[in-house]
């Protein structure tokens, strides 16, 4: 019935939710892989950064970022990225604190780009994350809707 009245809007929402789910699965796989690769329990990330240093232009900002910030703090960064990806994945998957989850994704993506891990594949990710932050998709499908109804003043479920 609703589909007949507003087919474009419903189709858009369904497409949006499919993209949100795919993005979440992608992020979940990335987070799980990082745990399995020993990111948070070994110096793997430091090795990744050191290898990247050899591939970047020596005078680039990414080299400065990696050598003065990312490499010395690689353990902390490994935890933040891994937990951030898992939190974002679960949040976007079940629509719980959806916009905050997207915000964490944006933070991680920005840091990937600054750290020299930029390429054109980040563009669709940035667009998707911006849309996830802008639209209240947790209200369309997910836990945000009932939780927002229960806690209307909370900023977490909007």
């Amino acid at each position: 019935m609703i589909l007949k009245r507003r087919p474009a809007a419903i189709t858009g929402i369904v497409f949006f939710l499919i993209m949100r789910t795919l993005f979440a699965i992608f992020w979940l796989a990335a987070g799980v892989n990082k745990i399995n690769s020993g990111w948070v329990t070994s110096d793997v990330l430091k090795e990744v950064f050191l290898q990247r240093l050899t591939e970047l232009p020596p005078d680039s900002f990414a080299v400065f970022y990696l050598s003065s910030f990312a490499i010395p703090l690689h353990t902390l960064i490994a935890w933040i990225v891994t937990l951030g990806e898992l939190y974002s994945a679960v949040g976007l998957l079940i629509g719980l604190t959806t916009r905050w989850s997207a915000g964490v994704s944006l933070f991680i993506l920005i840091n990937f780009a600054i750290g020299g891990y930029y390429d054109a594949s980040l563009i669709p990710f940035f667009i998707l994350v911006a849309l996830f932050i802008y639209y209240p998709s947790g209200q369309w499908l997910g836990f945000d809707k009932p939780l927002h109804a229960k806690y209307p003043k909370s900023i977490w479920f909007r």
Partner: protein, 185 residues
């Protein structure tokens, strides 16, 4: 009451889907094979991924003996291959490559990227010819025009005759790019 009932059903459905996805992800991830000898291959990381934005300069020369170049040679007769970053759409396609690799380690076996080919004869440098390199990890080869580089043995092979015509070496990237720039401003 209705809210609670809806929430309860939503809980069950969503948690069921999430549990299924997490379980599948964990099973596939734990079954992953460690990156092996491919860790030292050109443009391929020790974590089993092609480097999208990396570049490399490879020197190939007609010789029967395998030398080692730690710096750009002062003179000689050789061919330089400047392997460039992947193209825009090739970079976009890495989203799928990265995704499918989580479930099937062997799914991504290669890609194409632009390459500049420069022929050097002592002090005579040809103008860079733009070509396409096909890089593979199964088998470990790089195809450039009518030549092939064996990424394990470093052999340079003529495709038409399938004859060994020399060896190829990776040069220090930034130093080599500066020298190439000096000769082709």
């Amino acid at each position: 009451m209705r809210l609670f009932r809806n929430f309860f059903y939503l809980n069950r459905i969503v948690l069921g889907i999430v549990s299924l996805i997490i379980t599948i992800s964990l099973l596939y991830s734990s079954a992953e094979v460690e990156a092996g000898d491919e860790s030292s291959l050109l443009l391929y990381s020790q974590f089993g991924e092609f480097c999208t934005m990396c570049e490399a300069v490879v020197l190939c020369e007609n010789t029967n003996t395998k030398d080692v170049y730690n710096a750009f040679p002062q003179s000689g007769q050789f061919t330089l291959y400047h392997l460039k970053t992947r193209t825009f759409w090739s970079q976009i396609s890495t989203i799928w490559e990265f995704f499918i690799k989580n479930f099937n380690d062997d799914a991504v076996k290669g890609h194409r990227r632009p390459v500049n080919i420069i022929k050097v004869d002592e002090n005579n440098w040809s103008y860079p010819q733009i070509g396409e390199a096909r890089i593979s990890i199964d088998p470990n080869t790089i195809y450039i025009e009518e030549k092939m580089i064996d990424r394990e043995s470093s052999q340079w092979i003529e495709l038409v005759t399938n004859n060994h015509i020399g060896f190829c070496y990776r040069l220090p990237l930034w130093e080599s790019l500066e020298i190439i720039e000096e000769h082709n401003p």
